[in-house]
């Protein structure tokens, strides 16, 4: 059974069709890429899957269960974590607390137990801290756990966002331009890092990215979007030679039958 099954989803903003009849399948332990020019509706697809926006039509299934009309927080609890294109860390929390937040919805202790400092509160906090530290160690930020996110360089803030998403223990991770703003060396590091995560955790990823080296290196399959429509789908090799993709990116006047 597919992990994520997106069936014919649509989203309009006024007269603009942001996502037009988009379908995709993500299998377990797979990395799927979504590429396309600016304004192609890639981030809107993420917002539809993670339920930031309501769908106009279509269905989304996670492990066979329909999540098309679930609440945003419910979808997160079911195992879809995401990062944001414009980094959205909790600036008022420390690095460690940022990574603790995804564990916090779990009822490890009640409100009364928290204000009375009962034993379950200590146990729950210890467990949360251990999980958060594990995630920070995974991205190599454990030594900076007491810093404020704004004190970290840009590349580390990106890694922190990934650590925070992993702390949710997701089945599916949606990465929105994780390599944006990274220099070539850092981008290479990111590729190795994501490969490492795929090896060690039982997880699937969807990757939106503009850097073709990162996309081609990581993805098993790629969807190409343009003006809300899927114009091509296939393996990296197929995409690189696809006429429609070249037309969309380079504006060639070639016949395109998509």
């Amino acid at each position: 059974m597919a992990l994520l099954d997106v069936k014919n989803i649509n989203k309009r903003f006024g007269g603009v069709v942001a996502v037009d009849d988009f379908s995709m399948v993500v299998e377990p332990n797979e990395i799927v890429g979504i590429i396309g020019p600016n304004g192609a509706g890639k981030t809107t697809i993420y917002n539809l899957i993670s339920k930031v926006y309501e769908l106009d039509s279509g269905q989304v299934y996670l492990e066979g269960e329909e999540i098309s009309h679930q609440k945003q927080e419910k979808v997160a609890k079911l195992g879809i974590a995401r990062t944001f294109q414009n980094i959205r860390l909790f600036q008022s929390l420390t690095v460690l607390d940022n990574v603790k937040v995804p564990c916090d919805y779990k009822p490890r202790y009640t409100f009364a137990e928290s204000i009375l400092m009962l034993p379950r509160r200590w146990k729950g906090e210890a467990e949360t801290k251990r999980e958060a530290m594990e995630c920070l160690e995974l991205v190599g930020l454990a030594h900076l756990c007491n810093e404020k996110p704004s004190n970290l360089p840009y590349g580390m803030q990106r890694r922190l966002e990934i650590a925070r998403a992993l702390a949710l223990k997701p089945k599916l991770l949606l990465l929105d331009e994780p390599a944006a703003g990274l220099n070539p060396e850092e981008a290479l590091g990111l590729v190795d890092f994501l490969k490492n995560i795929m090896k060690n955790l039982d997880i699937s990823m969807i990757l939106i990215e503009h850097r073709m080296d990162v996309i081609m290196e990581l993805c098993d399959r790629i969807y190409v979007q343009d003006f809300g429509k899927t114009i091509a789908m296939g393996t990296p090799e197929q995409i690189q030679t696809d006429a429609c993709v070249l037309a969309a990116y380079l504006g060639e006047e070639e016949e395109c039958n998509a």
């Binding site: 927080e73 909790f90 916090d104 949710l168």
Partner: protein, 290 residues
């Protein structure tokens, strides 16, 4: 300085601490928090005066009454946007004041409710304040404190990590309302006289000002600023005419030159940690070299 100034200061500290989780951590402005203090004071006072209930029953009824009221009020309003919630809290405060003024046969109306037994002294208020500050501090350093700060910073991101925004806001709102109610109970049994005008929006908004003066995410700052700003007018009594001017200048100066408040986000525990790290450093350095 006489005893009643100290008690009044301590009760103001409880009031400011009661909006700390709501306004400071969650970012929901409450301009009607003193209304809950009124509800707590009146429930406890009426039970004591007209029904001769013992202190423990009056106190519990006052605090729990506030909890129930805040649930009823919070259910429709906590789903609104923050600015609408702030407006609503202002109206709630004035509405409760009006109700207390109008229902004279039960509450004594504008004349107030008098001859409440004096069941609480200075020691009781001190213990009550310490307990409340401890409860709120424990809450700040729990998963609920983190969730509140996450909601305040970025509600959308908080939701995408599984946090139920409404449920969290509701818990905090009920919690803070019950603390305000507790302040009211202490107040009623110490001063022995309550009237509705003590609990208007001026009291509520001064709590908000104290909170911002001290630093919105610093509990230590809130307690300090509540203490300083309540006692300041007393200390400035010698300059009777300029009192209000000096008071306002100090507040404006702090808000202008230190917009994050007196202590920003620093707590007293950070000071202890800093001292500890200073003391521990000489031991750590050789470790690193080796």
């Amino acid at each position: 300085m006489n005893e009643s100034v100290i008690v009044f200061t301590l009760i103001t500290i409880i009031g400011v601490v009661s909006i700390f989780p709501l306004t400071g951590l969650t970012g929901l402005f409450s301009f009607g928090q003193a209304a809950y203090m009124a509800v707590g004071a009146y429930i406890a006072g009426i039970l004591a005066v007209f029904y001769q209930m013992p202190l423990i029953v009056c106190g519990l009824a006052g605090v729990l009454g506030c909890g129930v009221l805040s649930m009823i009020v919070g259910y429709p309003t906590l789903k609104l946007r923050r600015d609408f919630f702030a407006l609503m809290s202002l109206f709630l405060g004035e509405a409760i004041k009006a109700v207390l003024n109008a229902s004279g046969n039960i509450t004594g109306g504008a004349q107030g409710l008098s001859s409440i037994p004096k069941w609480v002294g200075l020691p009781g208020v001190i213990v009550g304040t310490i307990v409340v500050v401890a409860l709120v501090a424990f809450m700040k350093y729990s998963r609920f404190g983190r969730m509140c700060l996450a909601i305040k910073t970025d509600e959308l991101a908080a939701k995408s990590f599984g946090i139920s925004v409404f449920a969290t806001k509701m818990k905090v709102y009920v919690f803070t309302s019950m603390i305000a109610g507790f302040a009211g109970v202490l107040y009623a049994f110490y001063i022995q006289y309550i009237d509705p005008n003590m609990f208007g929006w001026t009291t509520s908004s001064s709590w908000v000002i104290f909170l911002f003066f001290g630093g919105t995410v610093s509990l230590t700052g809130s307690v300090l600023s509540a203490a300083i700003l309540t006692m300041l007018p007393e200390m400035l009594r010698f300059a009777s005419e300029l009192r209000t001017v000096i008071y306002c200048v100090i507040i404006i100066a702090v808000l202008n030159f230190r917009p994050q408040g007196l202590l920003g986000d620093k707590e007293i525990s950070d000071l202890f940690k800093w001292i500890k790290s200073k003391l521990a450093k000489p031991k750590k350095l050789p470790d690193k070299a080796a």
